[in-house]
Symmetry: C2
Subunit: 340 residues, 2 copies
DNA sequence: CTGTTAGCGCATTCAA
DNA sequence: TTGAATGCGCTAACAG
C-alpha cells in the first residue's frame, strides 16, 4: 500500500499538499490538484485511517455491545444501527457478551483501548457499572432498548410499561379475566413489562393469581416449560401475556400439545413482533416494536453526541452537557393477529 | 486517558521501560517493573491500540462483509465468528451490504483504509471482484458459506450439491416422484443446490417438469408467491424441495391456505435449519447446516492465515503461499421432522 | 497558495 | 538492564 509520501514524490509536491487535496482542508491550485489526483489514481492510494485516527483523535468507529447477535431482536437492532452509521461513515465493531456476562468490564476496556468514538449498549449493565464507566471516560454512550435511567446516558426505545399495559388491556377488553403472565429475568426490561401487566390488572379491577405467574428465561423452550408449569395446576387461565415472542411461541406450543386450542381455549399475546410471530399458526397477536427504528435512532443520537463533543472541544476545550434528548420514546402498537 | 509518557514520568522511568513491561518484550528489573505496574494501576493506563497498530502494522481487527445481519442465517454465522475472534483478541467490524450490492468495492476500500488484518465474506462477490481485490492487497480473505472456487481464497461451508441431493433423495425414498423445486437467485449457492436437485432426479430416473420449477428471492413472502405459481397450473407436485427454510415456510403457508394438508397432500423439505423451521407446524424437515461452526472455522482459519503471514514476513520478507486448507467442508445432515 | 516542521502514542533500534 | 533517539503515516501550525 502506497503512503502519502510516495504520492507526494510521484506528484512532485509536498506531503502537505497531498493531505490538503485529500481532505479539501485548504485551497490548492488546479495544477497541483490534478497532479495529485493522477498520482492517487495510478497508485490506488488510500489514506491510512489508523494514522489519521492517531492524530485526529477520532476513529470513526462505534462499538456495539450486544448480548447475542444471533438473537433476532438484537440482530435487527444492529441492522438499524449499521444502516445509519454506514451513511455517516462510521464503522461498527461488535462485542458479543453472550454467556460471559461477568466480563463486561473487559469489553468496556477493549473499546476504550481501541478508542471507539461512542458506544451503543444493547445489553443491560448495572447502574454501578455504567457510572463507573462514565467516571473513567467521557466516551458517549447510548442505551438502545435498555430502559435504565442514568444521568448523561440517553435511552432509545419504547414505553415498556404502557406497551405491556396495552397488551393486557387488549386481553381484558376481549373479555378475559383470568390472565396469566410469563415473564423474564430481573432486568429493567422484565420488571417494567411485569409492572405494566400488574397495572392493567389493577386498573381493571382484576385480581392476579400467584399460580398464573411464571418466570423463565427468554427462549422458545423455556416458554414451553413455563407454560407446562402454568398448566399443571389443573385449572388454567383463559389468556396468557408473555413478555417476549419467543416465550409466547413456546407457550402456545405447549398449549397445543396439551390439547388446548388457540385462541378458542386459551389466548396469547406476545411482545416484540419478531419474525417468528408471523410464521407460527395461528399468527401471534403481539406488541409491535419498531426495532430497526430504535437502532437507527440510537445510532443517530450517538453520532450527534460524538460530533457535538468534538465540536465543543475545539471551541471551549471543556465538555458540553450531553445531548438534551435524554429519552427517545418510539411508538409501539398492538398488532392483532390470530391468538386472541 | 493517560499515555505512556505520563506513566513513565509517574514511575520515574523512560517510556521504553514502560513499553517493555507492558509487552514483556525485554527483561526489566523487578524494582522498575513494580514502579511501572503501580503507576499503571493508579492512573488506569491502557495502551493506545491505535498507536500500536500504526507502528506494528497490525490492527487486530477483522472485517466481516455480510449481506444482511438481521437475517438469521448470517446472524448465526456472525455469532460463531465473534466467538473465536474474541478469544484470539481480535475485534470484528461488520459491513452490511444489504441492498446496495453494487458498492462492495466501497466496502473493500473501507476495510483496506482501516487496515483490517483479514476479511470474512458472507456475501457473494463476483470472481472478478475477488481477483481484483487480491491483486490490490494481500489481506487474507475467507469465504464462509459462499461456495466459490478462487485460488488463494479458502472456503468454509458444506457440500452444497450433496446436501441438496440428500434432501431430494429423501423425498424420493419416501415414494415421491413428482418433485417440485423452489430455488433462488443465480448465486453460486443457488446454482449448486439446484444442481443437487437435478442430479438426484436424474440418478433416480425421475423427470423434472418445467412447470414445477420456480425461482424466487429467499424470503418467506417470496416462497409463498412461488408456491402460488406452482399451484396455479391445476396439477401440483406431491413434494417440493425449497433451497432455503424461509422459502419453505412461505410455501407451506401457501399450501395450507389453498387447503392442502402437509404432509398428507404435499411434502416439503427446506434447507439451512434456521430457527423458524422448528417453530412452524408441522416442524419443517430440512437440511441441517452447522452454521455457527462454519463461522467458527472460518474465523479460526482466517486468524491462522493472518498469524502465518505476519510470522513469515518477519523471517523471509516475502509472502508464503496461503494456507493449505483451501476448502473446509463441514458435515450437513438431514433432520426429519414433520413435513414429509 | 505551498513547503517545512513538529508531533499524535507507541515499539524498537542503538548506545551507554 | 536502561534511556535517548528514530519513525510508523498523517494533519496542522508556521513560515514563506
Amino acid at each position: 500500500m502506497p503512503n502519502i509520501k510516495m504520492i507526494a514524490r510521484k506528484a512532485g509536491v509536498s506531503i502537505s499538499t497531498v493531505s490538503r487535496v485529500m481532505n479539501g482542508s485548504k485551497p490548492v491550485s488546479p495544477d497541483l490538484q490534478k497532479r495529485v489526483y493522477d498520482a492517487v489514481q495510478q497508485m490506488n492510494y488510500k489514506p491510512n485511517s489508523i494514522a489519521r485516527s492517531l492524530i485526529l483523535k477520532k476513529t470513526n468507529l462505534i462499538g456495539v455491545v450486544v448480548p447475542d447477535v444471533s438473537n433476532s431482536f438484537h440482530a435487527q437492532l444492529l441492522s438499524g444501527i449499521e444502516e445509519i452509521t454506514a451513511q455517516a461513515d462510521y464503522g461498527v465493531m461488535i462485542c458479543n457478551v453472550y454467556r460471559n456476562m461477568k466480563q463486561q468490564q473487559k469489553y468496556f476496556n477493549l473499546m476504550l483501548e481501541r478508542h471507539v468514538d461512542g458506544i451503543i449498549l444493547l445489553h443491560e449493565n448495572t447502574i454501578e457499572e455504567l457510572n463507573e464507566f462514565q467516571k473513567m471516560t467521557n466516551t458517549p454512550l447510548v442505551l438502545a432498548s435498555v430502559p435504565l435511567e442514568v444521568p448523561g446516558i440517553p435511552f432509545v426505545g419504547i414505553d415498556e410499561i404502557t406497551a405491556a399495559y396495552d397488551a393486557v388491556t387488549h386481553l381484558i377488553e376481549k373479555g378475559h379475566k383470568e390472565i396469566g403472565l410469563i415473564y423474564g429475568d430481573c432486568t429493567a426490561l422484565g420488571i417494567l413489562r411485569k409492572e405494566g401487566y400488574e397495572k392493567a390488572m389493577r386498573d381493571h379491577g382484576l385480581t392476579m393469581k400467584e399460580k398464573y405467574l411464571t418466570q423463565c428465561p427468554c427462549s422458545v423452550d423455556h416458554g414451553y416449560q413455563a407454560m407446562e408449569q402454568l398448566l399443571c395446576s389443573g385449572s388454567h387461565p383463559t389468556a396468557v401475556f408473555c413478555v417476549s415472542d419467543e416465550m409466547a411461541v413456546g407457550a402456545m406450543d405447549c398449549a397445543y400439545d396439551k390439547g388446548l386450542r388457540v385462541p378458542e381455549d386459551i389466548s396469547f399475546v406476545g411482545f416484540d413482533d419478531i419474525e417468528i410471530s408471523q410464521v407460527v399458526r395461528p399468527r401471534l397477536t403481539t406488541i409491535h416494536q419498531p426495532i430497526k427504528e430504535i437502532g437507527k435512532e440510537a445510532a443517530r443520537l450517538l453520532i450527534e453526541m460524538i460530533e457535538k463533543k468534538s465540536g465543543s472541544m475545539k471551541h471551549s476545550g471543556k465538555d458540553q452537557a450531553a445531548s438534551d434528548e435524554s429519552r427517545i420514546i418510539l411508538k409501539h402498537s398492538l398488532v392483532e393477529r390470530g391468538t386472541v
